[in-house]
């Protein structure tokens, strides 16, 4: 119980730390955020700097003349109400952008993660069980290759071959812009069609790592008595492999999966930009490129909160899944 409380406290503290550091980092920029936005406004909409400052200030909802700590308190207050900030470029709240972008990221990444996780688990168990086959060096070579290839290169190669050269898949968007979002077959088909390349890119990049991790875990289980006993009882190989070895070896992997699910927003920036896929990562890169500080801050906080929460869940999950592990007090 104490261990759980301690973990929750650490998670909250970490989130607080991230929030505070980002706030002060962004507000210490050469030329404050609001001044920068004012200049941008003046340039874009042809208003005076004073007018621009007024608009930017009203967007952020706090006064430049207030001391920094008062602005900070304002910011925290709004966060507690669930408002993540405002985007000056899109002139909407970050929450609205998230409502639009998050489903796409979650859609593509949860499929990719589950796909690479399942494939990796099967590969891992198999190579741990059949160690002398050709499969082991193959998977190792595959792992070296994906380990050496940054995900954005894989994504770019897929884009060039399958979208640009072969025209099998589209180069941008989450669905055909001619279609109206609706729950019908043409729309669903279009959504799936647009998601294929990002999913393949993620899955290709991550499967080998899962396989190697699972292999390590499975090999450590291999010497256990219950495996020997199962063999002695003459059980089928497949059954020992998946039901006895696999199920025990997968425990530590599940917590890894929980962490990966939380971390998916953080890994989406490059791939979504390459495929022009309108998820959180695409908006984040876009915000950084256009110096949309409000948006950057909001999306970053969302990303951080997701990881911190996932880590907490994984930590707690681990002791539930495996009663042998007790949380250290």
């Amino acid at each position: 119980m104490l261990g759980t409380l301690k973990r929750v406290a650490i998670a909250i503290f970490t989130l607080f730390l991230v929030m505070t550091v980002t706030f002060f980092l962004i507000h210490q920029t050469p030329g404050d955020v609001i001044q920068e936005m004012a200049a941008l406004y003046a340039q874009q909409y042809g208003v005076s700097i004073e007018e621009g400052t007024r608009i930017a200030t009203s967007f952020y909802g706090y006064n430049l003349d207030e001391p920094l700590w008062a602005q900070y308190l304002d910011y925290v207050g709004r966060l507690l109400k669930g408002e993540l900030g405002y985007s000056l470029i899109y002139r909407v709240s970050v929450n609205q952008v998230i409502v639009k972008a998050l489903p796409w990221t979650v859609f593509v990444l949860s499929i990719s993660l589950l796909l690479s996780f399942s494939l990796g688990m099967i590969m891992g168990v198999t190579i741990a069980w059949k160690r002398k086959t050709i499969l082991d060096p193959l998977v190792t070579a595959y792992a070296s290759f994906t380990g050496a290839t940054p995900d954005y290169i894989t994504a770019l190669v897929l884009l060039i071959i399958f979208a640009i050269r072969l025209h099998w898949f589209p180069t941008k968007g989450a669905y055909d812009s001619a279609l109206k979002p609706a729950f019908n077959w043409p729309f669903i088909k279009s959504v799936l069609h647009h998601a294929v390349l990002p999913i393949v890119a993620y899955t290709f990049e991550n499967t080998a790592a899962w396989a190697l991790a699972m292999k390590g875990s499975a090999v450590s289980v291999l010497g256990e008595d219950y495996i020997t006993a199962a063999r002695a009882r003459g059980l089928k190989e497949r059954r020992i492999m998946f039901n006895y070895m696999g199920r025990n070896a997968i425990l530590p992997m599940v917590t890894g999966l929980a962490i990966a699910l939380g971390g998916m927003l953080g890994g989406s920036a490059l791939i979504e930009t390459i495929f022009n896929y309108p998820g959180v990562g695409w908006f984040f890169t876009n915000a950084v490129n256009r110096r949309d500080y409000g948006m950057m801050q909001g999306l970053f906080l969302l990303t951080a909160a997701a990881v911190i929460f996932a880590n907490l869940v994984a930590d707690l999950l681990y002791s539930v899944l495996d009663p042998r592990i007790k949380l250290e007090e």
């Binding site: 050496a148 940054p150 954005y152 290169i153 770019l156 060039i160 500080y293 990881v307």
Partner: protein, 298 residues
């Protein structure tokens, strides 16, 4: 005390951690190939730019040429030689990665040593921060820093790359220090009333050095992936001949990825990155063997 005590931890480090391993690497084919690749890149980055001249002039008639004797890797969208860009880019990419790995190690040593030696509240506080660094994914953090700090030169870029990369190493150094602290030779040094500075420099550092040396290459690899990624997104456009900048120009600016003739231009920086990374992976495999003799075959 007479001069019989010639044991020097630094010489020990040199002989056991540098000369011996080279022999093991030479015997391991994969590691040796990795070392050759890395040496090739080193040559390319140091001597290369002195030999190969980078002609920044546009030659529109020569755009998107396939590889030839004159242009070993073809030309880009304004007729500049791709190979020359790759060579000049390697100096940029590798020096940034080297600096970033160096900064990362300095931060990790400082945090890990302080945390491990000091203990108590300092340790708790530093480990909380380390934990946060390990939890929050680094690429978004680097994006934020890139936006806020206006990167204009290799040193500030290396700083950004290292600012969120030291977590794992700091934690590992801390746990090594915790175990070293209990060893007899450290206790002996304490009994001899040697200064903490002396203990750190002559007893602790040489003992964690091999471990740090292994991590150096991994840190460089990560720094290359991240810095090329940042440049690729066009967030820190300060150097025209960086591999990431080449990829950025090819993908987002010149439309080279849409032209069949542009393929050499697009492929060149990608292949360079993959080759360097593979070389580093192979070499690291050999280093693992050096550290763990049980892995050696036959």
């Amino acid at each position: 005390m007479n001069s019989v005590a010639v044991y020097s931890p630094w010489r020990d480090f040199w002989e056991h951690s540098l000369v011996g391993p080279l022999r093991v690497i030479y015997r391991n084919k994969r590691a040796f190939a990795g070392m050759l690749i890395l040496l090739g890149f080193l040559f390319m980055a140091t001597i290369g730019p002195e030999i190969v001249e980078l002609d920044p002039e546009y030659h529109y008639a020569e755009r998107f040429r396939p590889p030839s004797l004159e242009h070993p890797l073809g030309t880009d969208y304004v007729g500049r030689d791709v190979f020359a860009q790759l060579v000049h880019g390697s100096r940029d990419v590798l020096s940034i990665a080297f600096l970033a790995a160096f900064f990362t190690i300095l931060i990790a040593i400082a945090i890990g040593m302080l945390s491990g030696l000091q203990g108590g509240m300092v340790d708790v506080a530093l480990m909380l921060v380390t934990n946060a660094v390990l939890t929050i994914p680094s690429f978004p953090v680097m994006l934020i820093f890139a936006a806020v700090l206006r990167v204009r030169d290799p040193i500030s870029l290396a700083f950004i790359l290292s600012i969120w990369a030291w977590g794992g190493l700091a934690r590992a150094i801390r746990s090594q220090i915790l175990s070293l602290k209990e060893r007899e030779f450290i206790e002996a040094a304490r009994l001899l009333d040697l200064s903490t500075y002396h203990i750190i420099r002559n007893e602790l550092l040489p003992n964690v050095m091999p471990f740090i040396a292994i991590n150096f290459l991994t840190l460089m690899r990560n720094a290359i992936t991240a810095s090329v990624g940042l440049m690729f997104l066009g967030l820190i456009p300060f150097s025209a001949a960086n591999w990431g900048m080449m990829l950025n120009l090819a993908t987002f600016q010149s439309g080279a990825i849409y032209l069949p003739q542009g393929i050499y231009y697009v492929m060149a920086p990608m292949m360079a990155i993959i080759l360097f990374q593979l070389g580093a992976v192979f070499f690291a495999h050999g280093l693992d063997e050096v550290l763990d003799p049980r892995l050696r075959e036959g």
